[in-house]
Symmetry: C3
Subunit: 310 residues, 3 copies
């Protein structure tokens, strides 16, 4: 079987099929089952170059840890302040140069379209690790992998997505990916932060309902996916204060949730999931983060053709 | 023999015994005696995650060099500005996430108690690389190792510690560690910068005398340990100017020091050791820094159980 | 044959001979011909320490990629803001400490003389990756290697160097290196940005002519080497605006250039080479950047004595 990930750019979950997603999850399972020697031999001598022009802890470190776990190494810039972009260099020039230093580029950039642009310019594959308010596809991959592992399946689930849906790029990647499955999606957001209307066309196969409050649906959900209300993307500080406590998952909400529901969050969290929820067995967001390393390791190994697709 | 360092947090030298310290120094000697192949096989595939929320050159690089020298790799954040802490994430959440990316976490943080908190949260071991004004235990480990190698023993020595004793976390870790040995300690500091009274309870087995000037004791000391007077921790700039030149080691002081004394400093130095002292055979602070890599490599190898304890 | 690069500092191209340059290019060719296994075995376990007190993307990443490609690893600081220099530490102390952590130091610093100073202090070799407005010798090495590969020879060529010649350290390293060859050099710069007169003594074997406009010579040049007019080094913003468009390579200029000319640039570029030039077959600046990794890998392998000199 040909490897559909080999030397392929990973820009949007819209570019993927369900078969490819299954293949990625299968590769993740296989990599998790390997001993350290086997893992380390996969990408020995390979180099990942990360370019993070927006700050990040978990995504960058997750990619670095993933690459290290399969024997490769990582170089890059962790913030735009270190780079020649300060001297006025274009993103295109930066990409063209680092393209010759590495086997794969992982880019985070505040501009919509930045990852697509980088992929057009680079000869090696580019992974979008967050482009503007658009997408963050590897987050969606690990989200789905988490649902699969923690719930045993994806099809047939009722999935609530709560919080800032307008500016959260992880939500868009997740919804485009969920559109490959047969799920019921419930979006819970204040009117100001509802999902962008123009994105719905790419999800028309998806059953979506919108709600003003988590209380309307919490008792029916299999998955409660919470997102941060991102202060820095909010146009008005007062509006932020007004809504920030309205979509919080806490004991009161969990008391009404199903006993087999799971709570996910792409992290970082501020206060939209109360800290006391951490000790509830349904909280799986740290497990979700930990799956990220292995899903990304599998993706990298596939892109470099270091493991067979099946 | 069981390995007491295996998967153990290293938060304070108060948690250690003299036997453990001896064991660490023995492992350091063994690692220094290995050829490159042997060393590199110790922690192959292992990952250290450093989280430095306060700036550092030598400690972070020393850990990275130590890990590289035993075949492992390092990922992390070199300053708080790169991280998701800027988005309002708690230290606890950051620790929980990177815990799944790595085998050991090395943390520097301005808050007292930060390392202890991290250790409680993380499933993998945490090394305190500086918590507030409290402690910096691996610095004390390399300090003692340096004394052992350069003086041949620790017991029976007269050890002077000079400078800012109030705010210097390295001094506290060193004093707690020295309390395991039979040494005479002479603390030399201006009244404003004397050692914190509440710390003395953990050193009550230690013979301590306090002095206002290095001149009172310099002719009797085996070890002259100098610390920086840290401008950034000083409440008042004028007070800083008044004391900063009062505890300087220079030719005048060295002329009265024993010919077999050694001068140590945790570095970075500003002007508390005059530059002309560098060429004096008694200056050992750069050698001290160089021992740091091997002591930390031994500690990491023990924590990962990559070498037997004896 | 003895290896003249073994444990040698690389501070200035003035310190090199043509034979050494040939030897480096030969080693580069050999390394490019190796398979991954061979390359990775060269510097396994070796550590490069980079200290970049001025921002950089390509030089730092090029060195890290070079080191990774020959099996070594890199540690360091990517900007002065992360480091203990903020606590008032001297460059000399920083060098002395990291010297014991690594096998080679790569330094970029805004001060003239910084690399020479570091080399005097360090026991391990130091590579100058940019010292003030003085030199950037590894850039010149890859420049010459590019000319050799893309034009087949260096001797006998007519080489134009265009732009800010006064403040561009890459130009000085390149000119000192070109002085080992029999080439005609044409310098094209506004009067304010002409090459520093005091540097000419080290190039007196070189045939140099100076011009006010690229139009005077473009039709005769084999190599058009363009440099950025560095805004941050310019004393007056208005003067910058006046000259910045005067030395631009665009379609109008290329129409008069030889069909076998090549256009080089040390990068980053701002607007001194028009973006539409990228698609002209004569544009070789991205290829030039890509050669940098292999030239630096060869240099590092020679300095560590990991490959024979011939």
């Amino acid at each position: 079987m040909a490897n559909p990930f080999y030397r392929r750019d990973v820009i949007s979950t819209r570019d993927m099929t369900r078969e490819e997603m299954d293949l990625l999850f299968n590769a993740t399972d296989r990599i998790r089952g390997m001993n350290m020697q086997e893992r380390l031999s996969l990408c020995r001598g390979r180099v990942l170059c990360y370019l993070f022009f927006e700050p990040s802890t978990r995504t960058r470190l997750s990619f670095e840890a993933a690459m290290a776990s399969i024997g490769g190494s990582s170089i890059g810039i962790a913030s735009g302040k270190e780079s020649s972009m300060e001297k006025g260099e274009s993103l295109v020039d930066t990409i063209r140069v680092v393209d010759s230093y590495s086997d794969v580029i992982v880019l985070r950039h505040r501009m919509d379209g930045s990852a697509r642009l980088a992929a057009e310019v680079a000869s090696n594959p580019v992974i979008n690790a967050g482009s503007g308010a658009e997408e963050h596809p590897t987050q969606a991959m690990l989200d789905l992998y988490t649902i699969l592992k923690e719930k045993g399946r994806i099809d047939g689930l009722r999935i609530g997505i709560v919080g800032d849906l307008k500016y959260s790029r992880t939500v868009y990647s997740l919804l485009y990916a969920l559109a490959m499955y047969r799920v019921d999606v419930h979006l819970v957001a204040p009117p100001l932060l509802r999902i962008r209307r123009e994105s719905l066309y790419a999800m028309d196969s998806l059953s979506i309902r919108e709600h003003d409050s988590i209380d309307e649906v919490v008792d029916t959900l299999d998955v409660i996916y919470v997102t941060r209300i991102q202060r820095e993307r909010f146009p008005d500080a007062q509006e932020y204060e007004k809504v920030k406590h309205s979509y919080v998952i806490d004991d009161r909400v969990l008391a009404r949730a199903r006993s087999d529901a799971i709570v996910l969050h792409p992290l970082p969290r501020v206060d939209e999931v109360a800290y006391h929820v951490d000790s509830d067995a349904r909280a799986r967001y740290f497990k979700q983060a930990s799956y990220g390393k292995d899903v990304r390791a599998a993706l990298l190994a596939l892109m470099i053709n270091a493991i067979p697709p099946v």
